[in-house]
C-alpha cells in the first residue's frame, strides 16, 4: 500500500512527456489526460492521509536500501505538501485552448511531478535534481504567456536561478566531500562530528542562498516582481503560493536534521527581517496590482524566514501556520488579480461592478493583517509569542519589524479596498471597470471559503499543524525510520 | 517766486493765443482763457511747469450775463506759486468737459459743482448726488433759486413771542430794525 | 442650624450684599469724582438710578432669552452671596467650597452673554467676546491664588479658612502668611471687576458699552444690581481669603471698603488696555507672583 505513494510522482512525469503525442492524436482526449492524472494523484495521497498507516515510512526506490539507493521519506509534512501540490495543480490547470495548450499543460504536469518529488524525496542530490526540474518547468510556464516582458523576466530569472543552483551544487559537493554520503538520514547521523565546523556552515549557507532564489530570500528575490507581474496569474499564483514554500521545505529539512549552528540561524533571521522590510515598503508604492501582490509575498516569506529562525518545534508550528495561511490567501489574491491586474487607479469603483470580488478581497486582506477571528491572527499570534520568548535582541527587532510591517500592509491593502468602494463618476460606463474572470473568481471564492472554514474550525486545524510540526521536528524519528528499515547504516 | 522763474512762466504762457495774464502777487497769477483752450493750458502747466496739484475748481453764477465762471486753481510745489485759470461757459446748456484725465481730484470737485450748480461735465466718472441726497429740488446754489421762498413754502416758523419780549418792546427796547425789514426776500419785493 | 434660621440667612445675606454693594458703588463714584476734582453724586444716587430704571414705562426686549439672561445675571450673584460667610451668618458655605463659589460667580457673566447674544447687536457680540477673553485672562491668576489659599488651609470650606486666619489674630492673616498670593489676588480681583484699565469690553466710545448696548429700563437696572453684587462679592471674597474675614460687622465692612478702595482709586488713573495687552499682563505678573507664592506655600 505504501509503495502507491510513488505514483503521484511518476505518473505526471510520464504524462508530461506523452501529452504532446496524445494531444496531436486527438485534442479531446488530450485535454482530459492532465486533470485525470492529477485527480488520481490527489486520490492516492488523500486516502494515504486518511488511512494514515504507520506514518512516517521510508520507501527505497529500485530496491537499493539507503544510504546507497534513493529513498522517499513520507511523513505527514511531506504528505501534506504533496497533496497541496496535486490540489493546486488541479485548481490552476491551464484550461485555455490555444496553440500553446499542449506545451503549457505538459510543463504544468512536469512542474507538479517535480514539486511532489521535492516534497517527498529524502536524498540531498535527489532534492537538487527535482529543484532543477522545477526551475526548468517554471521557465517554460512563465515564457508561455509569450509577451516581450515575459521573455525578459524569464531570462533574468533563468540567469539568477542558474547561478543559484551552481551555489547549491557547491554546497552539496562540500557536504559530500566531508561526509561521503548524500542520504539525509545518514547525514543527520554524521553531522554532529563532521559538519559541525566552518566548512559545514559554508555549505549550509551556500545551499541557503542557492535555494533562497526560489524561496524569495531577500537579496536574491529581485526576479519576483517582474515574473509575477508578467506571468499568467494562474502560474504566478502557483509559484507564489506553493513552489516558494517547497524551496523553504528543503531548508527546513536541512536545519532540522543536519545544521544546528547559531550563526546560520542568525543569518537567516537577518535576511528574513530585510526581506520583510523591503517587501512591505516596496508594496506601499506599488502602482500595479500584481506587482503589489508580488512585493507582499516577498514580505510574507520574509516573515516565514523569521519564523524559521526560531529553533525547535514551536518555530516550526509558526512556519507551517504562516506558510499555509499565505498559500490560501496569496493564491486567492492572485486569482482576483487575474481580472483586476494592471494599474490600481482604474480599479476605482470596481466593487460596484463585482461586489463578490470586493468582499473576497477584503476578507483576504483582513486575514493577511491578522483580524482576530480569521486564521491569519492565530498564525501571527503563535509567531509573536515565540519571538517574544527568545532572549537575543535580534529577535526583538524582528518582532518590532514584523508589527510595523503589518501596519504598512494594512495601510496599502485598505487604501486599495477604499478605492474599490469609491463612487465612480456617472458618465464613466459601468462595463469599462475591470472585472475578474468567472473561473478565477470561483476559485478565489473557493479559497475564501477554505479560509472561513479554517477560521471556524481553528482548534482542530491548530492540533493538526502541531502534530505535523512535532513529527517534522524530531530528527531521531527521521533517522531510525529511514535507516531502521535497512538494519542500520555503515 | 524768483524773478527769472516768473519771467520764464510769462513767456511760457504766451504760447496759448487769446490768453490774458495778470500777476496778482509774487505767488499768484490770474489767467483768463477762452473755454476751449483750458485743457491745453492745464496740460502745459502740468507737463512743463510743474503745476501738478489741482487744489480746487470753483464756480460763479453770473445770472445777469447768463454765464457760469469756472476757476481752476493749480499749484506747483517747485515754484511755490498758484495759477487760477478763469473760463466762462454759457449758462443755459451748462455743459463742459471734465479734466479728470489730467487731475484725478477733479472728479470730486466736478461732482460737487454738478450737485450745487447743475453743470454737467462729460467724462467725469460719477455724477450722482452725495451731499444733498435728501434734496430733490433744483440745484440750490444757482442764483434763481430763492432759498427763503422755498422754506416759507415747505417749512413753518416758531412764532416766538413770549410775554417778556412783548413788555420789552412795549418799553421801546428790543430790536431796532423790525425782523420783517431785515429779510432779504422782502427787500426785493 | 435650624432650617428656619437657614431660610432667614438665605434671604438676609443677598439683601445685606445688595445694600453694602450700593454703598460700594457710591464709594466708587465718589472716589472717581474726587480724583477728577468734582463734587460727585449725592448719597442715594445708585438707588435712584436703579429705581428709575426699574420704573421705566416702555422697555425693549429682543426675546425670552434676553430676559432670562438678566434674570440669570441677578440670580447667579444672589446664589453666590449665600456661599460667602459673613460675620454671624454662614449660609450654605459648608455645602459648597471655594471652587463652587468661583463657578457660581461665572454664571452671571455667561447668563448675560446669552442674553446679549439674543439682541443680535454686533457691538454686543464683540463686547461679549472680549468679556469672555478677559474672563480667561483674570481667572487663571484667581485660580492660582485660590489653590494656594485652599492648599495652605487644607480645606476648600470658607468657614474653616476664615477660622484658621482668625485663630492667631493679625499674624495668621492670609496676607501676612502669603504676601505674594495676596498681591496676585489683588491684581486678579481688580481685573475681575472690569474697572477702568481692564474694561475693554465696556469701551463706550468703541463698541457703545459692549454688552449693555441694547439694555434699557429694567434690563439696565438688573445690570446695575449685578454690578453692586459683583463689587460686594469680589471684595468680601478677597477679605475672607486674605484678611481673615470679619470678626465684627464694623471691621468686616471697614476691611471690605478699604480693599475695594485700592482698585477703584487705581482705576480712574489709567487709559484702557487692549485685549491682548490685558491677556499678556494678566498671564505674566499675577501668574508669576502666584506660582512663586504657591512654591512658598508648598
Amino acid at each position: 500500500m505504501n509503495s502507491m505513494v510513488v505514483l503521484p510522482l511518476v505518473l505526471p512525469l510520464f504524462g508530461a512527456f506523452l501529452l504532446p503525442i496524445i494531444m496531436r492524436a486527438s485534442v479531446g482526449v488530450g485535454l482530459w489526460v492532465g486533470p485525470a492524472i492529477l485527480l488520481y494523484g490527489c486520490w492516492i495521497l488523500g486516502n494515504q492521509w486518511i488511512s494514515g498507516t504507520a506514518m512516517p515510512f521510508s520507501l527505497a526506490i529500485g530496491g537499493f536500501a539507503p544510504p546507497m539507493g534513493i529513498n522517499l521519506y513520507v511523513d505527514s509534512l511531506a504528505l501534506l505538501f504533496a497533496l497541496a501540490v496535486q490540489l493546486l495543480g488541479l485548481i490552476f490547470w491551464p484550461f485555455k485552448l490555444d496553440p500553446e495548450t499542449a506545451r503549457r499543460q505538459a510543463l504544468m504536469l512536469l512542474l507538479v511531478a517535480a514539486s511532489t518529488g521535492l516534497a517527498l524525496s529524502g536524498d540531498l542530490f535527489n532534492l537538487y535534481v527535482f529543484y532543477e526540474l522545477v526551475a526548468v518547468a517554471t521557465f517554460g510556464l512563465i515564457s508561455a504567456s509569450s509577451t516581450g516582458s515575459a521573455y525578459a523576466a524569464t531570462i533574468r530569472y533563468l540567469i539568477l536561478s542558474g547561478i543559484g543552483s551552481v551555489l547549491t551544487l557547491l554546497g552539496i559537493a562540500l557536504i559530500y566531500s566531508q561526509t561521503g554520503t548524500l542520504n539525509l538520514a545518514h547525514l543527520a547521523q554524521l553531522a554532529p562530528e563532521q559538519l559541525n565546523n566552518k566548512l559545514g556552515l559554508t555549505a549550509f549557507l551556500s545551499i541557503l542562498i542557492g535555494v533562497g532564489v526560489k524561496a524569495e530570500l531577500f537579496p536574491v528575490n529581485t526576479w519576483v516582481p517582474e515574473v509575477y507581474a508578467t506571468a499568467a496569474s494562474r502560474v504566478s499564483a502557483f509559484l507564489a503560493g506553493l513552489v516558494s514554500k517547497l524551496a523553504l521545505l528543503i531548508i527546513l529539512r536541512l536545519l532540522v536534521l543536519i545544521f544546528h549552528q547559531q550563526e546560520a540561524i542568525q543569518v537567516m533571521l537577518f535576511l528574513g527581517i530585510l526581506g520583510v522590510v523591503s517587501g512591505e515598503l516596496a508594496a506601499w508604492r506599488a502602482k500595479d496590482m500584481r506587482r503589489m501582490l508580488a512585493f507582499s509575498s516577498i514580505g510574507q516569506l520574509g516573515m516565514i524566514f523569521i519564523a524559521l529562525s526560531i529553533p525547535d518545534q514551536a518555530g516550526l508550528l509558526a512556519v507551517l501556520a504562516l506558510s499555509f495561511h499565505h498559500l490560501l490567501v496569496k493564491s486567492g489574491l492572485f486569482m482576483l488579480a487575474d481580472g483586476w491586474g494592471g494599474a490600481i487607479e482604474n480599479l476605482r469603483g470596481a466593487a460596484k461592478r463585482s461586489p463578490l470580488a470586493a468582499i473576497v478581497f477584503i476578507l483576504f486582506s483582513l486575514s493577511l493583517i491578522g483580524m482576530p477571528p480569521l486564521p491569519g491572527f492565530w498564525a501571527k499570534f503563535t509567531l509573536i509569542t515565540e519571538l517574544a520568548a527568545q532572549t537575543s535582541p535580534l529577535y526583538l527587532i524582528g518582532l518590532a519589524v514584523f508589527l510595523l510591517a503589518t501596519v504598512i500592509e494594512a495601510a496599502y491593502l485598505f487604501r486599495l479596498a477604499a478605492l474599490l468602494y469609491r463612487p465612480v463618476s456617472e458618465e464613466k460606463p459601468i462595463d469599462t471597470i475591470p472585472k475578474p474572470a468567472g473561473v478565477s473568481l470561483v476559485s478565489a471564492s473557493l479559497f475564501g471559503v477554505g479560509l472561513l472554514a479554517a477560521a471556524l474550525f481553528i482548534t482542530p486545524v491548530g492540533e493538526l499543524l502541531n502534530h505535523v510540526a512535532g513529527q517534522a521536528a524530531n530528527a531521531e524519528l527521521y533517522i531510525d525510520t529511514v535507516l531502521a528499515g535497512t538494519g542500520g547504516g555503515r | 517766486m524768483s524773478k527769472e522763474i516768473a519771467h520764464w512762466l510769462d513767456n511760457l504762457l504766451e504760447e496759448i493765443e487769446g490768453i490774458k495774464v495778470r500777476r496778482k502777487s509774487s505767488r499768484r497769477v490770474r489767467v483768463d482763457v477762452p473755454a476751449d483752450a483750458l485743457p491745453a493750458l492745464l496740460e502745459l502747466l502740468q507737463g512743463r511747469a510743474g503745476y501738478i496739484h489741482l487744489s480746487a475748481i470753483s464756480c460763479v453764477d453770473w445770472i445777469e450775463e447768463e454765464e457760469f465762471e469756472l476757476v481752476y486753481h493749480v499749484w506747483s510745489y517747485e515754484s511755490h506759486s498758484l495759477v487760477s485759470a478763469h473760463i466762462r461757459i454759457a449758462r443755459d446748456p451748462g455743459v463742459y468737459l471734465s479734466v479728470y484725465d489730467l487731475y484725478q481730484p477733479a472728479a470730486f470737485f466736478e461732482r460737487d459743482i454738478h450737485e450745487m450748480y447743475g453743470i454737467h461735465f462729460e467724462g467725469s466718472p460719477n455724477m450722482e448726488k452725495f451731499i444733498l441726497t435728501e434734496w430733490n429740488g433744483p440745484p440750490p446754489m444757482r442764483k434763481e433759486f430763492d432759498s427763503e421762498a422755498y422754506i416759507n413754502e415747505h417749512l413753518s416758523w416758531q412764532n416766538y413771542n413770549p410775554e417778556w419780549l412783548q413788555e420789552l418792546i412795549a418799553e421801546g427796547g428790543g430790536i431796532i430794525i423790525p425782523p420783517e425789514e431785515q429779510r432779504f426776500s422782502q427787500k426785493k419785493k | 442650624m435650624a432650617p428656619l434660621e437657614l431660610i432667614i440667612e438665605l434671604v438676609l445675606m443677598p439683601l445685606v450684599a445688595f445694600i453694602v454693594g450700593l454703598m460700594m458703588v457710591l464709594m466708587m463714584r465718589r472716589i472717581a469724582a474726587k480724583l477728577q476734582r468734582r463734587v460727585g453724586p449725592p448719597f442715594f444716587q445708585p438707588l435712584y438710578d436703579i429705581v428709575k430704571l426699574h420704573g421705566k414705562r416702555t422697555q425693549v426686549s429682543h426675546g425670552m432669552i434676553h430676559d432670562i439672561g438678566i434674570v440669570m445675571a441677578m440670580g447667579g450673584y444672589i446664589a453666590a452671596e449665600t456661599l460667602l460667610p459673613v460675620p454671624g451668618m454662614n449660609g450654605i458655605a459648608e455645602k459648597g467650597g471655594i471652587i463652587t463659589l468661583l463657578y457660581l460667580m461665572m454664571i452671571p457673566s455667561l447668563g448675560l452673554a446669552l442674553g446679549v447674544g439674543q439682541c443680535a447687536n454686533p457691538n454686543g457680540s464683540i463686547g461679549i467676546a472680549r468679556a469672555l477673553t478677559a474672563m480667561l485672562a483674570y481667572d487663571i491668576p484667581l485660580v492660582i491664588v485660590v489653590f494656594g489659599v485652599a492648599y495652605a488651609a487644607g480645606t476648600t470650606n470658607l468657614v474653616e479658612i476664615i477660622a484658621t486666619q482668625q485663630a492667631g489674630g493679625f499674624e495668621t492673616w492670609g496676607a501676612v502668611q502669603m504676601p505674594l498670593l495676596a498681591i496676585a489676588g489683588l491684581i486678579a480681583m481688580h481685573a475681575s471687576l472690569g474697572k477702568q484699565p481692564f474694561e475693554i469690553y465696556i469701551a463706550p466710545a468703541e463698541i457703545a458699552t459692549g454688552p449693555m448696548v441694547e439694555m434699557g429700563g429694567k434690563y439696565l437696572g438688573g445690570l446695575f444690581v449685578m454690578q453692586s453684587f459683583q463689587l460686594y462679592t469680589t471684595s468680601v471674597l478677597y477679605v475672607s481669603l486674605f484678611l481673615g474675614g470679619g470678626t465684627t460687622w464694623f471691621d468686616f465692612l471697614l476691611k471690605s471698603f478699604l480693599v475695594l478702595a485700592i482698585p477703584v482709586s487705581i482705576a480712574y488713573l489709567f487709559p484702557r488696555y487692549r485685549t491682548e495687552d490685558l491677556l499678556r499682563l494678566m498671564w505674566k505678573w499675577p501668574v508669576m507672583l502666584g506660582l512663586i507664592g504657591i512654591a512658598f506655600v508648598m
Partner: protein, 237 residues
Amino acid sequence: MSSIKQIPVIEEKRTNPLARVFDELVRFCRSRSLFLLHYCTGCGAIELPPAMTSRFDMERLGIQPMVSPRQADILLITGYVSIKTLKRVILTYEQMGSPKYVIGICSCTVNGGMYWQSYATAKKLDEYMPVDLYIAGCMPRPEAVIEGLQQLMQRIKTGEAKGWEDYYRNYDYYLGNQQKLFGNDWQTPTDVITEAKHYDLLGEGTLGEHTALLEQHQQPLEALEMRLGHQVKEPAE
C-alpha cells in the same frame, strides 16, 4: 409747542395711597437720576464737556452721560439739525425707552437760528418730535445748560414733562410732518403704533391718514416670535 398746550395738565392720581406714594417715589427718582444722550448734531455740543467735568459737574445732579439711546432718558439735540441728520435723530428718539425727554440747545433747534435761511436744515424741531425744553442762545453757556436741566428735573418731579406721551397720542401729526419732509415711504424700524397699543397709550391723534399712508408700504415689523413651527405648513415654494 403749539399742540401740547391744549392737553390739560392733570396728573391722574391713582386711587390707593400706597400706589400714589410709589408713584411719587418713582417720579422723584426719575427726576434725580437722568441719563443724558447728547446727540452732537451741531456746534452746541462743545458746551457739554465743561458741564460734565469738574467746573460744573452734572453728576452732582445725578445726570450721567450714556452712549446708547436704549439706556438714555434725555435726548440732547445740540445745534442745527440738517434733514439728513433729522432722520437719524428721529430713529434715535424712537429707540429710547420712555419716559424720555428732548432738550433742544441753541436757537438753531428753536427756529432755525443762524441757518434760518438754509434749505437743508429743519427749522422747528418740535414739529418732528415733542420737545420738552428749549435752551436758547447761540451756544448757551454751561450754566444755562445746567439751569435748563434743573428746570427739566423740576418739571419731571411735578409730572408736567409729558412730551413723550404726546408722541404716542399725536403720532399722526408728527408722522405727517416727517412724511412731508422725507417723502411718503418714510419708515423707521420702530413700530410706534403697536408700541402705543402695547402700553395702551393710544390717543385719538395716533391713527390718521398719515399712518394709513405708512401702512401701505411698511415692511413687516412684528417681532420674531419663538415657535416650533410644526403646525405651520410649508410655504408654497
